[in-house]
Symmetry: D4
Subunit: 210 residues, 8 copies
């Protein structure tokens, strides 16, 4: 039974960022606010960076209207495989993409993309079929409406995918704050303005006391 608690481990996990392209996001994603979605995607990316996870980027028709990957993703992962798929909609149908995954030697796949019901759902289901564990990052994946997202997530959950969000992915990888309190705190604060407010209140009070 795939649903049991399988922890994501720094040593077993790779991250697949699929089709976070400017044209697709501006044209299709409507289930999250624009500020919130951009923040979630970058937060997931920086989480991957923070834990030095292997990252695989892929795009669909990036020289056409779908547009390039959002700039920050490209800049964050200059050395990551970046597979420009010539036509396959399901990234798993692209041999190069699957080989890149195999090359990481990891069996836990953390997956996010645009749009949820296609670019995330298809490879997540393929990955499960191929024996991988699939951790779908729901809030770094976007689509046409909340109704479409919900149906798609329910489908993946029934197929054995683990539904997560960027924050729970980060926390699961971190395991223990003591592994790097400052680094992990900075990662969270940089993408959780509410948490940043709490931290700044705390720091200001510390300053006063001195």
């Amino acid at each position: 039974m795939t649903d049991l608690y399988s922890r994501i481990s720094k040593n077993d996990a790779a991250v697949l960022l699929i089709d976070h392209q400017t044209g697709l996001i501006s044209g299709l994603v409507r289930d999250y606010g624009v500020d919130e979605f951009k923040n979630n995607v970058l937060a997931l990316a920086k989480t991957a960076k923070f834990f030095n996870l292997p990252v695989i980027l892929t795009t669909s028709f990036e020289s056409g209207p779908n547009g390039p990957l959002i700039r920050e993703l490209v800049e964050l992962f200059p050395d990551a495989p970046k597979i420009a798929r010539p036509g396959q909609i399901n990234a798993w149908d692209n041999e190069e993409f699957v080989k890149a995954i195999q090359a990481t030697g990891k069996k836990q796949l953390i997956i996010a993309g645009v749009v949820t019901d296609v670019c995330v759902s298809f490879p997540a289901l393929s990955a499960l079929h191929a024996g991988y564990e699939a951790f779908v990052v729901t809030d770094a994946s976007g689509t046409f409406s909340k109704q479409v997202a919900e149906a798609s997530l329910m489908r993946m959950a029934h197929a054995g995918a683990q539904l997560m969000n960027w924050f729970s992915v980060a926390c699961e990888l971190q395991r223990d704050w003591r592994n790097d309190v400052e680094g992990f705190g900075a990662l969270l604060a940089g993408h959780l303005p509410g948490y940043q407010n709490v931290i700044e209140s705390y720091q200001a009070q510390n300053e006063l006391v001195k």
Copy 2:
């Protein structure tokens, strides 16, 4: 286990459009905006047309207040079986309907209709029971409220139905853009105004460069 990723294939799939009748839609459907719902239904229909899938239309009491099928569906599929059920609520109870399905020789049934909790849910559950695969097109199916829709989708998911939306159906059938870039692009653009905007920006820029 029916939940594993069973891809829809052009060769194995038939489309069932059930009771998309004018009276039922105007009187009962309230979980989608009127523009959005009309668009979704037509998009699914044109997807079926684009891939030359066998389509079966059926209606309930079309000479009464339930009204006729929305005109565009009739016009799109002049040669499709159009089964006016004399009384059966679950289309699967109509022998002619089941025979029409059997005549297609397909085992993957893509199903949409009005209302979700009856006209879609009953035949989808019957189809699963009869050994077919059921791909429910959630956003081309409408009902009284989001609460009713959600309960109905959850019921079908637990029974083994695959929850999809017209866009994911189209993408799964297409598999690879290269099978027909222009045709597939036109299909999507015609029913995704957000995507059409992105395409027009792209085309205008191309014009400028020339």
Copy 3:
């Protein structure tokens, strides 16, 4: 596997209406509009009446602040067992209640009540445990918020309950309009103002033509 399509049959079904009391509804139910909820409860009750299903009414502390059953339910079912539970929260813990169910000889239980997460959920889970089929009528059951309702429905679905709504219950029992077109039409029209509008448009046009 309980999730497969088990049709409700007129011959195998009984209806349990649990704690639709005036004090509980006005004090606790907030996941449906007041007009909508009252209508849904009465629609389910009239459906039971229309199909002559055995109905069992039960209340919790009806002489205290929880108040009496809403008047229309009492009037609709003058001969139904009406079990005033002296204290048991889960109606299934009341021997008289379970005996009344057993006395019907039915194995399919159609269940609605207030509040969903307790008065519906507890006996539904007990019924499943005891080997009955449980058809939960989600829109004739109310509770504190949509969030509470959703969690409760998800819990019941995972335990094998069939999530339905009053309209799908009515349609499943009717099976075929021809069993009684006029009676069934009147049942629906009386509780679906949107459908009534469509019917009145149709009838007016018929009048004009004469």
Copy 4:
């Protein structure tokens, strides 16, 4: 300044019910739930009946797709002027309609209709222009969306219309419960299920005490 508190008086008020036709309601009204809207319209109508206010009914193209007035309105006011407008969209452009208003001798016009932004807004603005007071019954008037309704109400408020709802109209006409406690209570209870629940709790407790 028209905005100051001008009370509706039983002696000075007439009610205009404009285009509450079955086709228009089922085809166009989406800013209220179907149960809620039907209830609001009937509640306003019965309020007018209860206070013996002159009522004027009017329709647009009732022999075409717009359909007839909802049946209950016709039955409630068998002797009211019912003006079938041959084409004028703004009812105020129909001479017969304006004459019917003048014939009442009233200067306070309570107005509701479908759709808010046209069939209510146009005659309300015309009435204000002609020196009448306009009391728009917002919840017995429906239109395409909450956004359209809100813009339309803001427009009318700025032009001097008084925004009310059926309950506040009823209460303003009643002035004092003692004018007819039982009758007024029955009017409210019949259209406020939440209030009916509270009343039934109270009555049941009274019964118990006896």
Copy 5:
């Protein structure tokens, strides 16, 4: 022009709490969550208490289904005039109520009640008409729906009422924290759980430093 900034002053203001009765709240108020509404009403009451403003309580038919005032209001203001209106819907029509207001000698009336569109709106408009300033406390007033509330607030704003909420009333009366930092802080913290959290974080940190 009534709209200009007229500050509420401790010396010029009286508070009118109208029909916050248990039956009316449970049966009719649906535009605020139950926790939120109860909290807002009590917060306004405690604000009045904190500033020693004269308070006038009034009820409609409190010995019938409308029920008593919520207990806390009665307990907070044992010496306030509590006018049980024998039938008048608009409290301003009750001579005793108006005399009680006149007896306070205040010209700024802070008004809240149930329901907004009647029990608040009618006396607020009457008060404006009689030359008082009306400060409507929108979030301590409840009614059937957000749509009804919004229309009613727009009506009152156009008639010259000042739309406020309990927090802005408290802050306007306080003027300066230094008038009583501890007392005012306790008032706010007791009814703003979000603010209480921030305060507790602060206090805990202070403890640690010691």
Copy 6:
């Protein structure tokens, strides 16, 4: 007082369509669904066409990322002035634009655009200032969020703009169905799927009777 009912007249009105550009719509508009917004804009455009109103198109930086006007607008009005503003944000600051308005000789300006709070609001306020009447078509204008839209509409209403929607504009121009029943019916049906459903039900029934 500009707020009184000033009817739009076919003879006095011109239409300003401002910055309905593909990049701006896909990148910025989030207060309407994509299907709904596209439909509303085209419906307004076809209304202008149907009544032969002078139309003025204008764009901001159309050769940059803002993109071209949506294609259908260009095709509908091949002979309309299309003013590509070289930099002015408020179209009224562009002399050519104001001259084009003056050239129409009209004093009633029907205005829609993207985004509401800038491209609509600025010229609408300028037009009012310059002595024109401004009819803002709220549902053919889009912006970042409902909160931004609402604040912007409130601002314009207070400055004297008339808040309308495409349907009320069309109805006000038409005045009487008899001016062209078929043409006007086709205009509405083409952009109101709900109304189209009602019409198709009606027509189907007419066919049956023959």
Copy 7:
């Protein structure tokens, strides 16, 4: 199969309250209103107290920005183990925490915390893995958004957790009102203002009758 109805028993259950800290709540919780959430957490805590269940409190970095436990929890359970985790994010990774659970000898764990997707989800999944039953109290657990909460609840439901709310936990533990009518009634009334209203109406009427 863990999903079958396993009743919570007073004798078999322990309560885990995880990270209900002031900084985390104010900074991160946005899926419930502040009044509602505070009320839900305290209601669950008082339920545990009422039934004398063993309670285990735990915090994460309580001397930093996460802040202390909300004061009322500390005061309610002066003798409960309160485990200040030095760094472990999943409380189950803290040996002291697991030992405290083992020390209770209970196998049914009632779990709530902040945030749902991490502080609740991780230990709930761990507990299931370790052979415990996990009853997640959804409305006493909060997180970033309804979307994150929903995905997290779906994940836990698929892993076998029972989704409950504080009210259903209380009712399941109580089993029968007669075990302590007054005490249980006071528990509910203190945290359900809607129920308190109904009770006060009832009591006032009883007073009147005397």
Copy 8:
């Protein structure tokens, strides 16, 4: 009449940022998403910086639980007056604050703050009273709920305030893109992820063409 279109001018405007403190934001602001609100506040601040407008910062009890100004505001305006009010709630009651405004010599005040109904509303009304023009930046001001925000905005609009948002403020100040295309584009792109996507699509296409 203050409502007419009074353009904000670079030469006449000053910006008041009131109480954007970490404790207040995390504890009280709930009408905007956390990402969205942080972004809006910073966008307004950078707009002020871009146009070199005089900025006045002020705080309430910043050494207590209200916390410091969010760090970025302090860093952006190292030389701005930063008035730590010792107790006055309405900043206008602080002499130093008013003098700082007078020292700018500007008569157009662009105002934002936390919370809208107090820290923004009070000084905005005071400023209008004192003869200034008040431009309230609605989306860079936050408060307890959308209902509270809406009532507060309606109050300010009726008193003559201009309701704007950060984007419309920026555009009004810029007047013409040609004043600084690159700078203004960077300002917008940095705070409008949707616009940034459109720009990146455009730039990528330009790169390809080269």
